[in-house]
Symmetry: C2
Subunit: 255 residues, 2 copies
């Protein structure tokens, strides 16, 4: 199976997961707190992860999986093919708004980006692909977004980093034409990928940035640990930036 | 013509305006700065306002109009029927994202809320109505949202007020379960009206809050100059809050 066939197979699994999520939204969603009152998990996050893990395990039993909701967190090497899953990114929006959340899957091979998938389920916007396949929005190939400068675009920023002005975060966001806080990393990635934002700074676990990173890098966008280090798909939560090359270059001038 | 007939007439005008906006988005939009680099106006803002003003003037020549883009700003009394128009709320989003903006119209009679209209054009979500007609989302009547407490919902907050912690804004937003910045007052009002946010604090001109205020008050939500004064539909830009009654009460404890 080549990368394009794999891409279409995974796309179909994620669409099935999206349908499961929509069906579950018609029932009572069971919400639990994880580390704090804004870090939530629901039966639907868990059900979606279980669905995707089962599909992957059945089709590719030798592949490794890292999932937000507890699957295989002990992956210790980037050798082979690793699937990184965020079954519902933006769980707080999912619970409070029943929209503005995404299903995300990133696939890496020997540490290199292979395929990424971000599906805004309620808006039915699905961006997927990778460096070897091209990147698609629904059924259409999309090209690299315009290389906007920091001052000429909208910047997404994590609220805590902005409040603390962590590593100049607030100054950087204030140098953009406007700051946005959406509560869902996947939506910020989609905006940057589609040229609707020039960047996004946040504090992200690998499942928050894996899919977006594959897609963004395939389109020539910069993905780094913030402000400027290699990201680590096996690491803990890390400060992270995705930006257009020009915006990234403008941001480096703050240091 | 009773209020319900008037509501349906204006709804149709705004839907026509929405179609005009969608058509214009297929062409090159001409952007100008107003007071600063993030305060933009386009030919489409102006064209939309001109379209609505023409409809109102033809049908109701004795009514007064206040429009963001310059129509009749010298209204000096709340007597009679006043139409307050924001042809494109979220112009920066309109320019940079081609979505996440709204057309808004609020109608007041002798200073009292009569009808409000917020149309998220690209998402095709139209909330309209008033105290005498009920409030509708597209074709369906909607009821008052759940009376969420401050700690149990998402709070929208203006970025500058948040940065400056103006009148405890940042502390208040931080007491919510999460803060959101959308760059479009109309979207925040829609979220509060539909129970997807428990409140929104910003610095708004009458055309930014007129429509949302009519709709919100009709559903039992609190609309005040922030932190707690009567709003003024003839005034300049003013600090403003819309919130569920419980959230508003929780916020008053900060003072």
């Amino acid at each position: 199976m080549d990368n394009k066939q794999l891409m279409l197979q995974v796309k179909q699994w994620i669409e099935e997961a999206g349908q499961y999520i929509k069906d579950e939204l018609k029932k009572v969603v069971k919400v639990e707190e994880k580390t704090n009152r804004s870090d939530l998990v629901t039966n639907v996050d868990k059900g979606t992860e279980a669905f995707l893990v089962k599909k992957i395990n059945e089709a590719y039993p030798d592949d490794l999986i890292i999932g937000e909701e507890g699957t295989g967190r002990d992956v210790s090497s980037t050798k082979g093919r690793i699937w990184i899953i965020d079954p519902i990114d933006g769980t707080l929006n999912f619970v409070k708004q029943q929209e503005n959340f995404c299903v995300m899957v990133g696939i890496f091979e020997d540490g290199n980006p292979l395929l990424g998938f971000i599906y805004d389920v309620m808006k039915n916007e699905f961006v997927y692909g990778g460096p070897s396949t091209g990147v698609y929005l629904n059924e259409t190939v999309i090209n690299a977004p315009e290389d906007l400068s920091l001052a000429d675009g909208l910047m997404g920023c994590n609220a805590k980093m902005y409040t603390d002005n962590y590593e100049h975060s607030r100054e950087i966001a204030s140098a953009a034409i406007g700051v946005r806080m959406l509560g869902c990393a996947g939506l910020d990635f989609l905006n940057v990928i589609r040229g609707k934002q020039n960047g996004y700074i946040s504090n992200l676990a690998p499942w928050d940035f894996a899919a977006g990173t594959v897609l963004s890098q395939a389109l020539g966008l910069v993905c780094r640990q913030f402000p400027d280090l290699d990201y680590n798909i096996l690491g803990e939560r890390q400060y992270f930036i995705v930006a257009t090359p020009q915006t990234f270059s403008d941001i480096q001038k703050f240091f």
